[in-house]
Amino acid sequence: MTEELIIAGFGGQGVLSMGKILAYSGVMAGQEVTWFPSYGPEMRGGTANVTVILSDKRISSPIINEFDTAIILNQQSMDKFEKMVKPGGTLLYDPNGITRNPERTDINLFKIDGTKIAADLGNVKIFNMVVLGAYLKAKPVVNIDSVEKGLQQSLPARHHKLIPLNLAAVQKGYELLESVTTL
């Protein structure tokens, strides 16, 4: 198994930390992982993205130009990354972040109303965990147990009291994933 994933959205949406928690979950599940962020002169309100690769083999290139899966959380990222999903691959998006629906017909399309679900759960900051849960329904690359361990490893101890809320968000996202097109 090798999963090459891009997570892309606005800075502040928790894109990089979602990737980190997923990557740590992969470590906990015994996988090889690479987390490669867009870094540089980024600014608040600008775009942020991270490539996460999970594999049971040694990972070659951390830099890739086509992805098994794209998680897209804003329109700029849709414009940039929709075309970079491999044929037969998967695209997951939050409809609140975009102004144009994805147009590809050769990939699996899923959506998750992460913004609303997080608000309903009472904490908009767990938006990214809702999306992570939805992703894990679409692509079960790690199980929820590993995510719990990943959260324990990646969050500082003072935030461990938030783990149940984060896991609830993952669970909600998992339950509420909507399929748009399945090949």
Partner: protein, 364 residues
Amino acid sequence: MGELKLMKGNEVIAEAAIRCGCDGYFGYPITPQSEVMETLMAREPWNETGMVVLQAESEVASINMVYGAAATGKKVMTSSSSPGISLMAEGISYIAGAELPCVIVNVQRGGPGLGTIQPSQADYFQSVKGGGHGDYHLIVLAPASVQEMNDFVDLGFQLAFKYRNPSMILADGAIGQMMEKVQLSDFKPRMTAEEIDAKYGSWATNGKKPNRERNIATSLEMDSAKMEANNKRFQEKYAKMQAEDVLYETIRCDDAEYILVAFGVSSRICQKAVDIAREKGMKVGLLRPITLFPFPKQIIGEMAKRVKGFMTVEMNAGQMIEDVQLSVGCAGCAVPVKYFGRMGGIIPTPSEVVQALEQKLIGG
């Protein structure tokens, strides 16, 4: 072994330094490697192992602090990125001239000048051919993974002390900024004053003892005959590195007709390019130099006798290609050696590499 962690390359450099018994780090922040000192400051190793961490007023000050501390036989290091390493060049030459061990980490960014903060490999020449003045070489290690960022700190110190010569870990912004799974090393205690004296008392300036002359750390020698003798001794040392400490990795080279040569993050991209090329029926392998000095000339010479060509893949305008050409030429071979690369902070993609391979080497 130590714990299994998910960490950034830069953070791992800091953790590995603490764990290998490093005595001191002196540095000055610069993107994309500022996490090295940030991590050290957050870890407060002075409470744990007694390691000193000091932010100097500049790169020039940092390297001269390294010079002074290295003279006492302590395990000391610094880190910076390309423009900062240029500022350190004078001090590095002095350290090499005074024959002192230390580790210097360069997390390269695009140049020349202030350039960009994105990853690059454009400091190859600077690292392997000199950088500072005079006939000297650094031991240059090129990590290609976060795990190797961990492993090469200890290895860098071992080689530095074996040869009494500075080692450089030549990374790049990509390896520094990305996170991967890493098996941390076990803690090694820092050496005691007695241990340093027993091992390095012949040269360390750790206080004159009654039973020996005072040790002086200097690169200055006004007598030309003695200076030439010093230079000859340095050259013997570099020849010994070439004979004993070359490191490289080969991937799918056994039946390969064409060889990609790449180091650091470029070698990771090439690993994927090899897989893509093989799927297309091209017999391609990858040679990854791990030590850039000493350079793996011998294996390239041996390969040159049986393959149809080489292509280096570098994030610069073509620097390592010169060493590959020399290695092929020295083996008396004339197979083509091509180059493909991107510059200015752009990272080539695996498919670009395959395309270049088809256009420049296999098709041509």
